[in-house]
């Protein structure tokens, strides 16, 4: 008996008991769909986190004030003493670290920005022009402030897309005056849209020269973060070491600051989402396992019910292996058909889940092939015992079975 014949026999037997076959398949469908959805959610979260971190810029080293350097403890926005890093350190990195290209400081603070009679709560990000290349930001219209603006602490600002929408109702803001506290800032440019990055929406911010912020708005000489961009991925480690030694020499201790590698941050975040994905897939696999046990249960019932049929088939010339294959194919067809339906249901479900969560829908080929192979394996694994039991039946006893 060839494979095609086996599949035909299996289909005829499956369709002869539609209700039972359908319910058995439902177990597999739910299991496979659950795995597909859970993996898609995990992958979607992973993509989301990765893209946020990558949006920081490329080959970035992030220097922050702080006392600890434990991985993962302070990825963003958590501080030791704020008053450690100044423009001198920025200059030191620029001068003493040959592996570092562009360097940009950053201070950012939530504040009220007014225009005419309207006002909004937004981030004021104070930095230097190098920030554009370091963070891979673009200017959509007008221009970014210049070195000259930084030197003169010019009262200029570049606004993000989100601010335009809220404060200017979409009108062209260039040349208009904003008020931050008592300081009037003239808008010289509009940032290109970037969206969410890390914990903040970079579109919802205005950018000012660091000196302007230090002298006129915040009254401080410190900077919160220094972004240093290595020349390329290979020089990241060298750049890291150079920054550590340069700053340790200036600040007297390696505890006063920490340097975080963008790849570390990405790696740590991806580790977290990977564990998250595995956990979800693991939980979903339990339902697939239960579905598989359902298949085995029905196959055992089917073998018992069809004992006489098995005896007859043997009397008509079926070999042990023919009977074994007949039941194995039946169980595999049950689970694979269930698996395919489960993949369809799961793909649809994960699109819905992604839309609800606002994540990219991540139904990858792997997330479809894996559960398919899984359902095939379930059919084989849970079918082999009932099938071998059928194959081993003694024809005389099987024919006598009532």
């Amino acid at each position: 008996m060839n494979l095609l014949e086996g599949v035909r026999t299996a289909l005829s037997s499956i369709t002869s008991n539609k209700m039972r076959s359908g319910l058995t398949m439902l177990g597999v469908i739910i299991g496979v769909a659950a795995v597909v959805i859970m993996v898609a959610i995990g992958e979607g979260a992973n993509l989301q986190v990765s893209s946020q971190i990558e949006r920081l810029g490329s080959n970035l080293l992030i220097v922050m004030p702080g006392r600890t350097r434990e991985p993962g403890a302070r990825t963003m926005g958590a501080f030791g003493s704020m008053d450690v890093l100044t423009m001198d350190e920025v200059q030191a990195i620029r001068d003493e670290c040959p592996s570092v290209g562009a360097v940009a400081p950053e201070i950012s603070r939530g504040t009220t920005v007014r225009y005419g009679s309207s006002s909004i709560q937004t981030q004021v990000v104070a930095t230097t022009p190098e920030y554009l290349s370091v963070r891979a930001f673009t200017v959509a219209s007008g221009s970014f402030f210049t070195e000259q603006d930084v030197l003169s602490a010019a009262k200029v600002a570049v606004v993000g897309q989100g601010v335009i929408d809220e404060l200017f109702s979409g009108a062209d803001p260039i040349g208009q005056e904003l008020k931050v506290g008592q300081v009037r800032l003239r808008v010289v440019g509009v940032m290109g849209s970037k969206g969410q990055s890390g914990m903040t929406n970079v579109d919802d911010a205005i950018y000012v020269p660091i000196t302007t912020a230090q002298k006129r708005i915040l009254g401080t000489k410190y900077v919160r973060t220094i972004y240093a961009q290595a020349h390329d991925a290979k020089s990241m480690d060298a750049a890291n070491d150079e920054i550590v030694s340069a700053l340790a020499a200036r600040l007297g201790s390696t505890d006063a600051f920490y340097v975080r590698n963008q790849a570390d941050v990405l790696g740590a975040a991806q580790d977290v989402t990977r564990v998250f994905t595995l956990l979800l897939a693991g939980i979903a696999s339990v339902s697939l396992l239960v579905g598989g046990i359902g298949v085995m249960n029905i196959m055992l019932v089917s073998v018992t019910e069809r004992t006489r049929e098995i005896g007859l088939r043997k009397a008509l010339g079926a070999r042990t292996v023919d009977i074994l294959m007949q039941f194995l194919i039946e169980s595999v067809v049950l689970s694979v058909v269930g698996g395919v339906i489960g993949i369809i249901v799961g793909s649809a479900g994960s699109r819905i889940a992604a839309r609800v969560a606002g994540w990219p829908a991540a139904v990858s080929l792997g997330a479809v092939l894996l559960p398919f192979c899984f359902s095939l394996a379930v059919g084989l694994f849970f079918g082999i015992y009932p099938a071998s039991r059928a194959g081993r039946l003694n024809p005389v006893e099987a024919l006598r079975y009532e």
Binding site: L312, G317, L399
Partner: protein
């Protein structure tokens, strides 16, 4: 040992034994009790014979049939089919013998209820690897031979007992076996249907197929050429009938069966 050929069966068909069993013993173990179903049976059946096996319940005749059909193995003794020892065959060879050389007919028909008549008849051909279209052709021809040409698509539940048994006979014929083994084929049928079935068996036998039939019914046994009687696991009588009953049959039956026999080998080869 009385295994001589019957008067009209013949020396013509040669002295070749199809079935030869020697001192067969079969012991069943039920818990700690041993039950001997066969206690030393020796018998030779030649090609073209029509043997009726009679005996009361528990005389071992069904066990004997199961061994002849290669469904069961004797505890002791030897069984040669066409002078080849069955005890030396493995699972695959036994399946092949059951598929190609032996046709079974059971008292309870044993048709698969979810398949129609034609699909039931096709079953043994599936295990022979015959392609689907050839299978259907052969099945239709076999059903035509047993007079069920117009019942191809009926499920067993839509057929009478006699019709079901004829489907079962068609299934046993479709592979053109050398031997047909029938275990109480008329046991569940009324007399008229029983005689119709015996007419088919006689026509088969006349076409050269060896028929071995188990029956309780003395009248049915009279259609055979030779009667072997079992009692308590032993053969107690073996007689060749000098005048057997001939069931009335249409001449077309022989033609159809002959056609079946001639066509089969070619069709199977062609397929």
């Amino acid at each position: 040992m009385g295994a001589g050929p019957g008067p009209d069966s013949a020396v013509v068909r040669g002295e070749s034994s199809v079935i030869e069993v020697d001192r067969l013993r079969k012991i069943y173990r039920v818990g700690s009790i041993e039950v001997a179903a066969l206690r030393g049976v020796s018998l030779r059946i030649d090609e073209g014979e029509f043997v009726a096996i009679m005996g009361p319940s528990g005389s071992g005749k069904t066990t004997f049939m199961n061994i002849l059909g290669c469904l069961d193995q004797p505890t002791e003794g030897s069984y040669s089919l066409d002078e080849v020892l069955v005890s030396e065959m493995d699972d695959t060879e036994l399946a092949r013998v059951r598929n190609r050389r032996i046709g079974f007919v059971f008292q309870t028909y044993n048709l698969l209820p979810r398949l129609n008549a034609a699909a039931n008849v096709e079953l043994p051909l599936i295990y022979r690897g015959v392609p689907r279209r050839t299978r259907r052709l052969l099945a239709v021809r076999a059903l035509e031979a047993v007079g069920l040409k117009d019942r191809l698509h009926h499920k067993p539940s839509e057929l009478s007992g006699g019709q079901q048994q004829r489907v079962a006979i068609a299934r046993s014929l479709v592979t053109h076996p050398q031997i047909v083994l029938a275990d109480e084929p008329t046991g569940n049928l009324d007399t008229k249907s029983g005689v119709e079935i015996m007419a088919i068996f006689q026509a088969l036998n006349d076409s050269g197929i060896t028929v071995v039939l188990v029956t309780h019914n003395a009248d049915i046994a009279q259609y055979a050429k030779r009667i072997v009687r079992f009692r308590d696991g032993l053969i107690v009588a073996d007689e060749t009938l000098s005048s057997r009953t001939i069931a009335e049959r249409d001449e077309s039956l022989d033609a159809l069966i002959a056609g079946l026999t001639e066509g089969t080998a070619e069709e199977v080869k062609a397929g």
